[in-house]
C-alpha cells in the first residue's frame, strides 16, 4: 500500500482495514515509522511506546480476522494529549510535577476508545497543565508547527494538532478550556472540535478549569471528527457534570442535514487585532455559505469584550484549587531538601510548577480570597451568564455563528513573551467555553507565507450533529486539508 497511509483519514483507512487491503499492524507501523522520522523536528510527543502500540494493533487484526471488528476506529492509531489518563502510561501534563507519574487507571474517553478498538498511541505535548496557547509552556520542549518549524503549533493541545498535521497519528484527542483544541487546529491546518460542555466525560482528564474543560478530537476531516465524537461522547456515571442525552450517530447525521442554514456574523469578532489575511480568508468562507443559499446575518454578542477578563478569573480560581493536590505527598515531584511540611509544600510546588502555572495559581488564589470573592469570582460568574445569554439570544435568529478561530496565523516561538499578549490568542475561542457551547475549527486557507488559517463555527448546545453538517458543507467545497507540510 501507499507509504502515505499515515496521511489518510479514518474514513478511508477503515475501508482499507475492513476490506483487508491493509492490517492495523501495517498502518500502525507506518505511523510509528513516520513519527520516528519527523518527530525529532515536530516534537509533538512527550513519549510513545511502539511495542505497546503494535501489540494493540495485532489484537485489532485478530479481532477483525475473527469477524469481531468494532467499527470505524478499530485498528486506527489515536494520539492522546498527555493530560488524559491511559492506564499504565505516563501522565505528565507536560509538567516537572508529574514527570515520573504513571497513571494506574483509564480515563473514560480512553476506555471508550479502547472499546471502539482504537490504538492508544503516545502521549502528546501541551502547555503545562493545558495553560497556554503555544506549547511553549511545556516543561519538556516546545512543539513545532509542521508548516513552519520556527513557529508554534498553538496550544495548549499543540502536540495533538501537530501530530495529525504531520502524519504522526490519524486522529488525536485534545482538551479545550479556552480554545486549546480549536486554536492549534487552526494553526496546523486540521479540524479541531470542542463539544458542548457535558457531552464528553471529563473523568481522567487532568483538571485545569473544571467548569470549562472539555475533551474533543483533532482530525483530517469533519467526518473523522464525527466518527471520533460518537466513540467518546455520552453520559458517564463517574462525571457528575456529564449530561444525560440521546446520542445520534454523528457520522450518519452528516448526510441527513443539508441546510440551508441561517448563519450569524458577530461584529465583535472582526475588530481590532484581527490579521487582515485571516479576515479575508474568513470572509471568503462566509461568502461561500452565502453562495450555497445560506442566510448570513449580522448578530451581536455585546459582552464579548469581557470574555478574556471573566475567563482569567474563573479559570484561574478553579485551577488554584484543582492544582492544590500536587503537593509532593502522595505522588509527583517532592523536593529533596524540605525541612518541614510547609517547606515541603513550598519547595515541591516551587520546583515542580513552571512560571505560567504559578502565575495562574496565584491569580486564582487571590480572586477567591476572603473579601475579594464577591468582587471577582461572583461577578465574573454573573458576566459569564450574560455571555451565555448573548449567544442564546443570537440563536433565536441564527443556527450557527461564524468567526475566525485565531486572530493571527501561527506566530514565532518567543514572539509573545508578555503573558497578556498570549492571553489574547484565545479572544475568539474563550466565549464558547464560557457559554458551554460546541465549537469547531476547520481549515479555511493559508496566508501568503503558507501558514494555515482556521474558520470557527459555533453551534447550539448539544446540536453537534447540525454543527458538524455545517462544517462539512464548507469542507466539501474546499481542499485545504490536502496541502501537507514539507517535513
Amino acid at each position: 500500500m501507499s507509504s502515505e497511509l499515515f496521511y489518510k483519514p479514518v474514513t478511508e483507512l477503515s475501508s482499507l482495514l475492513e476490506s483487508k487491503k491493509i492490517s492495523s499492524v501495517e498502518l500502525t507501523a507506518a505511523v510509528v515509522a513516520r513519527t520516528k522520522a519527523v518527530d525529532t523536528k515536530v516534537k509533538a510527543f512527550n513519549s510513545f511506546n511502539e511495542t505497546d502500540a503494535l501489540s494493540q494493533a495485532r489484537a485489532s487484526d485478530e479481532r477483525r480476522a475473527a469477524g469481531q471488528a468494532r467499527g470505524p476506529l478499530d485498528g486506527i492509531p489515536v494520539g492522546i494529549k498527555d493530560v488524559i489518563s491511559v492506564a499504565g502510561q505516563p501522565l505528565t501534563a507536560s509538567s516537572k510535577m508529574l514527570a515520573n507519574f504513571v497513571s494506574p487507571y483509564d480515563a473514560t474517553v480512553t476506555k471508550k476508545l479502547k472499546n471502539a478498538g482504537a490504538i492508544c498511541w503516545g502521549r502528546l505535548n501541551l502547555d503545562e497543565f493545558a495553560m497556554g496557547s503555544s506549547t511553549e509552556n511545556s516543561a519538556f520542549h516546545t512543539t513545532c508547527n509542521p508548516y513552519d518549524l520556527e513557529r508554534v503549533p498553538g496550544g495548549s493541545s499543540g502536540g495533538s494538532a501537530a501530530a495529525v498535521a504531520a502524519g504522526e497519528a490519524i486522529v488525536t484527542l485534545g482538551s479545550d478550556t479556552g480554545g486549546s483544541i480549536r486554536q492549534p487546529a487552526a494553526l496546523c491546518n486540521v479540524v479541531g472540535f470542542k463539544p458542548t460542555y457535558g457531552l464528553v466525560s471529563r473523568y481522567g482528564l487532568i483538571a485545569f478549569a473544571s467548569s470549562l474543560d472539555q475533551i474533543g478530537p483533532f482530525s483530517r476531516s469533519v467526518e473523522d471528527a464525527a466518527i471520533t465524537l460518537s466513540a467518546i461522547a455520552g453520559h458517564d456515571p463517574l462525571d457528575s457534570t456529564s449530561f444525560k442525552t440521546d446520542l445520534p450517530d454523528y457520522r450518519a447525521e452528516l448526510t441527513k442535514r443539508k441546510g440551508p442554514w441561517r448563519l450569524g456574523i458577530p461584529k465583535e469578532y472582526f475588530g481590532q487585532g484581527l490579521d487582515p489575511e485571516v479576515a479575508a480568508a474568513v470572509e471568503k468562507a462566509i461568502n461561500y455559505y452565502e453562495k450555497l443559499g445560506c442566510e448570513v446575518k449580522n448578530v451581536s454578542l455585546p459582552h464579548t469584550e469581557y470574555g478574556v477578563g471573566v475567563y482569567y478569573i474563573i479559570a484561574t480560581a478553579e485551577c488554584s484549587s484543582n492544582l492544590a493536590r500536587y503537593d509532593g505527598i502522595r505522588y509527583g515531584h517532592r523536593s529533596k531538601d524540605a525541612k518541614d511540611i510547609v517547606d515541603l509544600y513550598f519547595k515541591s510546588r516551587a520546583e515542580g510548577f513552571g512560571p505560567e502555572v504559578k502565575r495562574r495559581i496565584i491569580l486564582g488564589t487571590y480572586v477567591l480570597s476572603s473579601g475579594y470573592y464577591d468582587a471577582y469570582y461572583l461577578r465574573a460568574q454573573k458576566v459569564r451568564t450574560l455571555i451565555r445569554q448573548d449567544f442564546l439570544n443570537a440563536y433565536k435568529e441564527v443556527d450557527a455563528i461564524l468567526t475566525p478561530t485565531s486572530p493571527t496565523p501561527a506566530f514565532k516561538r518567543g514572539a509573545k513573551a508578555d503573558p497578556l499578549a498570549m492571553y489574547l490568542c484565545d479572544i475568539y475561542t474563550i466565549g464558547v467555553n464560557l457559554a458551554g457551547l460546541p465549537g469547531i475549527s476547520v481549515p479555511c486557507g493559508f496566508s501568503q507565507t503558507g501558514l494555515p488559517i482556521g474558520l470557527q463555527i459555533i453551534g447550539q448546545p448539544f446540536q453537534e450533529a447540525e454543527l458538524l453538517a455545517i462544517a462539512q458543507t464548507y469542507e466539501k467545497g474546499h481542499d485545504w486539508a490536502s496541502k501537507k507540510p514539507n517535513l
Binding site: 489518563s85 507519574f101 497513571s103 487507571y105 478549569a209 480560581a317 484549587s321 492544590a324 493536590r325 469570582y377
Partner: protein, 483 residues
C-alpha cells in the same frame, strides 16, 4: 463576680454508609492502612467526585429527626487548605447553603438522684451540613505517615447555637444527640473509632450580661467524658484569667484529656482563609417533597418521645424507662415482651435487672441473647399464675439464658414448679410462726399492718420455699383475724 458560661458545640458525626462520600470504594474502620482507597480517594490526577446518595438520605433523615428545615437544593463547595491528611488539599463541604437549617436537640439534665428524672430542655441548632472526612496522620520519630482509609468518609457537621451554659448541659446535649443518631441508624457514634467528634466554642460573661464574651474554640474533645471535663476546665481557666485581670483572646485550644490541660493551637490572626467556592465538579441536587416524605417515613420515634409514651402506655417508672429508652433495640425488645406478657412492669424489671446483667456478663449483644421477648413473657406468666416462685424464677432465668429453652420446660426438667402445699400443712406452719413471735402479733393487733411480713419468713423457710406467697398471706390473715 459571678460568671455564666456560653457554650456552642460543633459535632462531627460519620455517616454509616457502605461506600465513601464521593466514590464507590468501601468506607470502614480497622482495615490495613491505605486499603480503603481508590484513585478518587487518593486524588490522583484527573479523577472526579460523584455524590453518594445514601449519605444525603442519611443527613436528611438526621435533619427531619431533629426538626430542621431541609433546603430544596443540596449544593457543594470547596474548602481550600493544605494539610497532608486532605488528599485534594480541599475538602468538599457545604458553605453558605447547608442542607439542614435550624432544628433542636431535646436534652435531659441529671436528676437529683439516679431514680429521679431531670429537667428537660431544648437546645436550638444552627445548621447541619455534609462533607467528607480526612485521613489520619501517624507521627513517628523521623517521619509522619498518612493513612487515607478514613479520607472521604461521609461526615455530618452538626452546629448548635451558643445556648448551653454548663459542662453538664453540653454532656447531656452530646448524649442525646448521640442517642438520636444511633436511633436513626445514621451512625454508630463510637467516639473511640472517631465516628463522633466534638469541638466546643466557649466564652464567659458576668451573670446578667447579654452580650457574648470572646470565644475560645476547644478541639480534640474525643471522648464523651473529655467533653465534660474539657469544657469545665476551659470555663474555670477563663474565669481565672478574667479574675486575675487578664483578657481572653480569641484562639483555638487543644485539650489533652490525659493531662486535663489545654494549650493554644492558633490565634485568630492565624485563622485560615478557606477560599470557599462552589465545586464545579458537582451539580446541585434537588431535594423535593417526595424525597423528604420517603425519608420521613423511615424516621424513628425520638428517644424522649418514646420515654413519654412508655410512661403513659405502660405505666412504668423512670428507673426502667431511663435504661430502656436510650437503646432503641432494647426498647423494641421491651415493648414486645410487655405486649406478650401483659405485665409491662414485671417484663421491664426482668429486662433491666436480669437480662442486662446476663448479657453484660456473657459479653454478648441483645440480638445474640438466647432469651427472646417470648421467653420473658412466658416467665412473667408462670410467676403470675403461681406456677413458679420468685427464687425458682431466678434460677430458671439463668438457665434460659444459657440454653434458650422456654421457662416451663426448664421448670419441669429441674423440678422448679411450686408444688401445691397441703392446706393443713400450710396452716400449721402459719400457726407455728405466729406463736413464735408474740411481739409481731402484738404490733399487728395494735394496727401495724406491715407486721404481718414478720410471720412470712419462717413459713417460707418451713416450706423450703415452695409455699405460694399469695396463699401464705391469705392463710396468715385468716388466722390472725380469728385470734
Amino acid at each position: 463576680m459571678k460568671y455564666e458560661a456560653v457554650i456552642g458545640l460543633e459535632v462531627h458525626v460519620q455517616v454509616k454508609t457502605r461506600s465513601k462520600m464521593f466514590t464507590r470504594v468501601a468506607a470502614g474502620y480497622g482495615h490495613d492502612e491505605n486499603t480503603l482507597t481508590d484513585p478518587v480517594v487518593l486524588a490522583l490526577p484527573g479523577v472526579l467526585p460523584v455524590m453518594n446518595k445514601a449519605a444525603l438520605d442519611a443527613i436528611i433523615k438526621a435533619g427531619l429527626m431533629l426538626g430542621c428545615e431541609i433546603a430544596p437544593v443540596c449544593k457543594w463547595d470547596r474548602k481550600n487548605y493544605f494539610y497532608p491528611d486532605s488528599p485534594k488539599n480541599y475538602q468538599i463541604s457545604q458553605y453558605d447553603q447547608p442542607i439542614c437549617l435550624g432544628g433542636n436537640v431535646e436534652i435531659e439534665f441529671p436528676g437529683s438522684a439516679r431514680n429521679v428524672m431531670g429537667e428537660h430542655k431544648s437546645i436550638p441548632l444552627t445548621r447541619i451540613h455534609l462533607e467528607e472526612d480526612v485521613g489520619k496522620l501517624n507521627h513517628g520519630a523521623l517521619e509522619s505517615l498518612v493513612d487515607y482509609n478514613r479520607a472521604g468518609t461521609p461526615l455530618m457537621e452538626i452546629v448548635s447555637e451558643p445556648a448551653m451554659h454548663t459542662a453538664d448541659e453540653a454532656f447531656a446535649y452530646l448524649t442525646s444527640l448521640r442517642n438520636s443518631m444511633i436511633y436513626g441508624g445514621i451512625s454508630d457514634c463510637d467516639m473511640e473509632k472517631g465516628q463522633l467528634r466534638c469541638d466546643a466554642n466557649i466564652s464567659i460573661r458576668p451573670v446578667g450580661e447579654t452580650k457574648l464574651g470572646t470565644k475560645v474554640e476547644l478541639k480534640n474533645l474525643n471522648s464523651i467524658s473529655f467533653v465534660r471535663d474539657g469544657i469545665a476546665h476551659e470555663i474555670a481557666r477563663q474565669i481565672a484569667v478574667t479574675e486575675s485581670g487578664g483578657t481572653i483572646v480569641q484562639e483555638t485550644r487543644d485539650y489533652d484529656g490525659q493531662t486535663g490541660a489545654s494549650q493554644s493551637l492558633r490565634s485568630k490572626e492565624m485563622a485560615h482563609d478557606y477560599r470557599y467556592f462552589p465545586d464545579p465538579d458537582l451539580m446541585p441536587v434537588k431535594v423535593d417533597d417526595a424525597w423528604k416524605a420517603r425519608i420521613l417515613a423511615e424516621c424513628p420515634e425520638m428517644p424522649f418521645e418514646k420515654q413519654r409514651r412508655f410512661f403513659d402506655q405502660y405505666q412504668i417508672p423512670y428507673t426502667i424507662t431511663s435504661v430502656l429508652v436510650p437503646d432503641r433495640e432494647l426498647s423494641d425488645y421491651f415493648e414486645e415482651a410487655a405486649k406478650l406478657s401483659g405485665k409491662p412492669q414485671a417484663a421491664g424489671n426482668w429486662i433491666v435487672n436480669d437480662l442486662l446483667r446476663e448479657v453484660g456478663l456473657a459479653k454478648v449483644s441483645l440480638a445474640e441473647s438466647k432469651i427472646k421477648p417470648a421467653h420473658i413473657a412466658a416467665l412473667v406468666k408462670l410467676i403470675d399464675s403461681g406456677t413458679v416462685l420468685n427464687n425458682a424464677a431466678k434460677e430458671i432465668f439463668i438457665e434460659m439464658f444459657s440454653t434458650g429453652d422456654l421457662p416451663d420446660v426448664i421448670a419441669e426438667r429441674r423440678g422448679l414448679k411450686a408444688t401445691p402445699t397441703d392446706a393443713g400443712e400450710l396452716e400449721q406452719w402459719c400457726r407455728d410462726s405466729i406463736a413464735a413471735n408474740a411481739k409481731a402479733l402484738a404490733e399487728f393487733k395494735g394496727g401495724k399492718e406491715s407486721a404481718i411480713n414478720a410471720f412470712k419468713g419462717p413459713v417460707m423457710k418451713a416450706s423450703k420455699g415452695r409455699a405460694n406467697p399469695k396463699l401464705v398471706d391469705e392463710t396468715l390473715r385468716k388466722l390472725l383475724a380469728s385470734l
